[in-house]
């Protein structure tokens, strides 16, 4: 059985089937193709900085190396937080009930930088939750598509026609802008200004 997004609110769980929606599925897409003088499609390649190696597809490999130049196998790499400390992997949230936070107003959605949109199909849902979403309320849950080191935020929203969606991404906090931040500061007045205008200084 396909995995579901399962949420819990007020002791009631709801399960949704989900399918990814991207722009190309709504509107199609366009692609620019380079052509050689005979009208056949070109392929891309890279030229090394010194111009001596033409790097075609299949000619490169990549990996992590220490400062001493030793290769670090992928299995030895761990996930580090911003302080450089090892981070525990996050278990996938799919199929497991996730507590809903909210309801929030629309600003919560405006503060999300989304990287994925899923269309939800109710499988076994709390009708009160669906009614709340269709009334314009927004709910939040932690979201990890697979077990690993990435945990995102999902926001449940309803579209204009009442269809349900999960927007997945990260919440950002814009900076408050203040008048003084762009104006260069001047030296503090040391109090020895006697009010006379000194023209000899010119």
């Amino acid at each position: 059985m396909a995995r579901q997004i399962v949420v819990e609110r007020g002791g009631t769980t709801s399960a949704f089937d989900f399918a990814k929606v991207d722009r190309s599925k709504l509107y199609g897409r366009r692609r620019r193709v380079p052509l050689d003088p005979t009208g056949e499609p070109c392929t891309r390649a890279s030229l090394s900085e010194d111009g001596t190696v033409l790097v075609r597809s299949g000619m490169t490999a990549q990996g992590y190396y220490t400062d001493e130049g030793h290769w670090v196998p992928n299995g030895e790499l761990v996930s580090l937080d911003e302080a450089g400390q090892p981070k525990e992997p996050v278990k996938t949230t799919l199929g497991e009930p996730q507590a809903l936070d909210g309801p929030f107003g629309p600003e919560r959605v405006l503060d999300l930088v989304p990287h994925a949109l899923y269309a939800l199909t109710p499988a076994d849902v709390d009708e009160a939750l669906v009614a709340s979403l269709r009334a314009g309320e927004v709910y939040e849950l932690p979201f990890a598509y697979r077990t690993g080191y990435i945990e995102d935020t999902a926001l449940l929203v309803a579209g204009e026609q009442g269809e349900l969606f999960a927007l997945v991404g990260r919440i950002v906090e814009p900076i408050w802008r203040e008048a003084e931040e762009r104006i260069p500061s001047v030296l503090e007045d040391d109090g020895d200004d006697d009010g006379d205008l000194d023209f000899e200084m010119f």
Partner: protein, 256 residues
């Protein structure tokens, strides 16, 4: 958010224009891969010479070249393999594998939502329209925040900021006006001020909606960008045909 450096020329509700700064709102980085207490760097290097790729080996030794690899290591070119790759320049190869020494010609291929190719045409360059002589205009089309999040997917957000005292007053005024009405206003580009916003030549076009927040003398002015509506894709015609086909075949079975 890093200090915004790019410039945006815009008008306010009174039609007054100013040039301000903007930067993208980016989410904080999540976890990074590494070793505790050690610095590791990601590197790309050459792992095979052109003579070690499948086509070249098959041509030199026949399709079944495994034994040749064991006996003579023909795939290893010690002059090239292992070289670290830093900056590279992109080049184009003709269909016969030769490097093009003149720019290629281009064709734009249009695909429908079903993934089928619809059209081929010469591409047209789309110039950026946010920082030139023509300002990004306040269209006056306002939309409530609740309605906006139900109609559009905002895929990017830019934060606008002042570059001097005058533009502080200007942006704070816009933020105050929008915050008091609790709405977003659509901003448009181009000569008529109705075109989608394009931030660089041949960049993606976006519809832009300005949101203002105010806390005393502080402000946040956010330009939310959307290139898609919040809606489900239409059911593919094939699926409809398939379900019809199932019904038809069932009917056919029943008939027989």
């Amino acid at each position: 958010m890093p200090a915004p450096q790019r410039k945006l020329h815009l008008t306010n509700s009174g039609g007054r224009d100013a040039t301000v700064l903007f930067g993208s709102l980016k989410a904080r980085r999540g976890a990074t891969l590494g070793l505790p207490g050690k610095t590791v760097r990601f590197r790309r290097f050459v792992s095979a010479a052109a003579s070690g790729l499948h086509d070249a080996l098959a041509e030199a030794h026949g399709e079944d070249y495994a034994e040749a690899l064991v006996q003579g290591d023909p795939e290893i070119d010690l002059e090239v393999v292992g070289r670290p790759l830093g900056e590279t320049a992109q080049v184009y190869l003709a269909h016969d594998g030769e490097v093009l020494h003149a720019p290629p010609s281009w064709v734009e291929v249009i695909y429908g939502p079903d993934g089928e190719e619809k059209e081929r045409r010469p591409p047209e360059d789309r110039e950026g329209n946010v920082s030139g002589d023509l300002p990004v205009r306040w269209t006056g089309r306002k939309i409530g925040k609740g309605e906006a999040i139900r109609r559009f997917v905002f895929t990017r957000t830019l934060q606008l900021t002042h570059q001097d005292g005058l533009t502080y007053d200007y942006l704070h005024g816009i933020a105050q006006e929008l915050a008091e009405e609790n709405v977003l206003v659509m901003m448009g580009g181009g000569p008529k001020g109705r075109d989608p916003l394009v931030f660089q030549t041949n960049g993606s076009p976006y519809r832009g909606f300005l949101e203002g927040r105010v806390d005393g003398a502080r402000y946040q002015l956010l330009l939310h960008l959307s290139n898609m509506e919040l809606k489900r894709p239409e059911e593919p015609a094939a699926a409809v045909k398939d379900s019809t086909a199932v019904k038809d075949s069932t009917a056919a079975k029943e008939n027989t």
